[in-house]
């Protein structure tokens, strides 16, 4: 036994070294594009458009950000458009999925599972296919080029997942807790609001988080529904920055825009990582 210890220990420490090197290498490769984009966004506008490019800025400057900030009707409008669509989509997803999840988890009624299937089966239908009729419908009732219209589409995308998550969350709450609230004289809706809702908060956070990320990043519906420059969301603004003025792309401004669009997602992910991963797992492995 004792003879074998030394070489195997050597092998283990070599393995550990290889493992650490592999991890660090992978981290570098994964982070490099984001760091390079950040570095380009901090170059001076002329350096950002230099051929061939420099790896790191020779002088740091916020001029690219200033350009994006003042792009066309101004970044504030575009960020507001994105936030409004995301906020409305979060609100709609929650207002529809919280009661639905509660009803599905706590009540028995005829065709319950069939209704559930009806609600979540839309997940199997690509929303891309619905964009033509939805576009015509919204154009008719004046919801094209509006936050509400876009938020409705984003809710269509996100609702099945939200209902699925909320049903699971409510089913995870012990029945005794709710029964106790009835003994204490709560009515159904009061019980939902006062007793149940705090207990399913993780589910609510998950629904809101995914609704936000989906809406903030969604591209195709926004591209089709928004053709008024003032109504653009951030992803559509970025494409219009890329198209540039008279064909010449402003690369520095483009990377500043990419950074601005990416930072909220990364910040929220870092803050709510736990919910993100658990939501992903329960949504995918159903």
């Amino acid at each position: 036994m004792s003879v074998a210890v030394q070489p195997s220990q050597k092998r283990t420490s070599f393995k550990r070294l290889a493992f650490n090197v592999a991890c660090i290498l992978i981290c570098t490769v994964m982070l490099a594009p984001l760091l390079m984009s950040l570095s380009a966004s901090l170059k001076s506008p002329s350096e950002a458009n230099l051929v061939p490019p420099t790896y790191l800025p020779s002088v740091y400057s916020l001029a690219n950000y200033a350009k994006v900030f003042n792009y066309q009707v101004g970044l504030v409008t575009y960020v507001w458009n994105s936030l409004a669509a995301a906020g409305l989509s979060i609100a709609m997803c929650l207002m529809l999925s919280v009661p639905a999840g509660y009803g599905l988890a706590r009540y028995n009624f005829r065709f319950k599972e069939a209704w559930f299937l009806f609600l979540v089966a839309t997940m199997m239908l690509p929303f891309q296919a619905l964009l033509i009729p939805l576009y015509l419908m919204f154009a008719k009732i004046g919801l094209a080029n509006s936050h509400i219209g876009l938020a409705l589409v984003h809710t269509v995308i996100q609702l099945p997942f939200s209902i699925y998550i909320m049903r699971n969350s409510f089913e995870g709450v012990p029945k005794e807790i709710e029964d106790a609230s009835y003994v204490d004289g709560c009515r159904s809706f009061t019980s939902l609001r006062r007793v149940m809702l705090p207990l399913v908060m993780p589910g609510v956070v998950t629904v809101a988080l995914f609704a936000f990320i989906n809406s903030w990043n969604e591209f195709l519906a926004a591209l089709i529904f928004l053709n008024n420059e003032k109504a653009f969301t951030v992803p559509i603004l970025l494409v219009s920055v890329r198209t540039g003025i008279q064909g010449a792309v402003d690369w520095g401004a483009l990377q500043a825009g990419v950074m601005l669009s990416v930072v909220p997602c990364i910040a929220i992910y870092l803050l709510l990582q736990r919910y993100y991963v658990s939501g992903l797992l329960s949504g995918a492995v159903k």
């Binding site: 690509p126 296919a129 009729p133 990419v258």
Partner: protein, 291 residues
Amino acid sequence: MSLTHRPSTGFAYLLPAIAFTAVFVLYPLLQLVYFSMTDKSLMGGGGYIGIANYVRAFNDKAFWQALRFTLLYTAFLTPLLMGLGFLLALLTMRNSPLPKLTRGIIFLPVVIGLGSSSLLWFWLFDQQVGLVNRLLVDLHIIAQPLAWFTAVGTGFMAICFSITWKVVGFAMILFVAALQSIGQEMEEAAIIDGASYWQRVWRIFIPLSRRTLLMATLISAIGSMLAFDQFYIMTGGGPRGQTFTTVYFVYQNSFVFFKLGYGAALSIILAAIILAGSTLQVWLSRRSAGS
């Protein structure tokens, strides 16, 4: 118990979601079926023309080209993402600090927008200002900066590379969860029996995470079949329309050429293909859950 739990109350809680789905999914879907049998245009007008749009799609070389390209893209990317995702999961499945950090960083691009990441890579691969070219030239791998998106092959490679960077963390996270749920005892027993690491991977890890592997494969394949953003932003369908995906082709016909009737028929065909895929997914998950 719970006399207040009247069935009608339960249905009432469901009603808003049902109404929403009826108005914004079911009704548009029925409309879509109707539109697909008209020659409706975005400019207005259009009457019933039966199955002419479907016949036209069947004979449309450009549509078949787009469908074939999308299938090729899916068939190439899916195994790549699954294989790489699984290897990364094996590497980072332990819960000590470095693997955990690595996992977090690999997953990071999953949360950012596909539009943003496509614009980021569009810049990195640019012939003149792109750092990929600069790096490859500095490393003497290529002599001259490449115009990646002017040829189908290099454009395809560039997109696959960027998408791998963007979404490989998704499969990895699912696989890590599956691997972590495999009991330690099983692995220890295999070690005592003298199984090497790769034997354990083949005989224990892969069979026991089969369900997750299947799910991730289907989710990823469906995602690739619906690809749009990356091609719209990076290749614009070019060169000569050779990199149009199915969704892009539908978009092009409906909203660029205003042929809504034809676009609706194409949408139905696309939905049918995806539906077949996701039915397979549900069926497989039911079956493996039962066994």
